[in-house]
Symmetry: C2
Subunit: 125 residues, 2 copies
């Protein structure tokens, strides 16, 4: 789902820490379990996921109902507050999509190599 080349790393806009934005997007379609989250996040370590989830929970953006079932079962889902973030996030995504090329252009132009680095990058040129 999120590949390591995902623009999010390079984006000048970020939600929370490194993973928070992706986690929120993962939860957009409904509650997810701890181990379910680890899959789309491409082998995020348990520690990183826990850290991000705890931060989001602390900020009230997600809630963590723990079911009292025989087997341990925890689901994370967006709270009302978390859900309210989706609209601003969408705005940012729109901006990103519209201006991504300009951003890449600018970076390329100011890269120390200055070369046209034709290493397979067939973007808009």
């Amino acid at each position: 789902m999120f590949d390591p080349l995902c623009p999010s790393d390079l984006m000048p806009i970020r939600i929370g820490d490194k993973w928070a934005g992706m986690i929120i997007r993962c939860l957009e379609r409904g509650p997810r379990r701890f181990s379910e989250l680890r899959i789309p996040l491409r082998g995020i370590t348990a520690k990183a996921l826990t850290t991000s989830l705890r931060a989001l929970e602390r900020d009230g953006l997600i809630i963590r109902p723990a079911y009292a079932e025989p087997v341990r079962r925890v689901e994370y889902e967006l709270s009302q507050l978390g859900r309210s973030l989706l609209q601003p996030m969408a705005v940012m995504c729109t901006w990103a999509q519209e201006h991504w090329d300009e951003l890449l252009d600018a970076r390329e132009a100011s890269s120390p190599l200055g070369r046209t680095e034709q290493a397979g990058q067939a973007r808009g040129q």
Copy 2:
């Protein structure tokens, strides 16, 4: 202009690095010189300001026309791209203003000090 208590530090949404968002807001009203920027940014160090400005410049969000005057004179201003960020930023600010209280509430409730919540999740709903 930006006091150290400014919410921006605690915000779950960030533009660029620590200072980038504030710099953009400083440039919103027109070009500013290096030393002019240092004032509203409350004693940001020259290094930090340079770093942020270079990053913004690299991303094409600001431009840096250097005037060939006898005295050294450099002004920074938002590029078209940078200006296009203002609208998404406004959306985020609106979100922040609307939900800031909820966020603080959540943090307070989950702070180690917040012992008032010993009755489970029954805080002020």
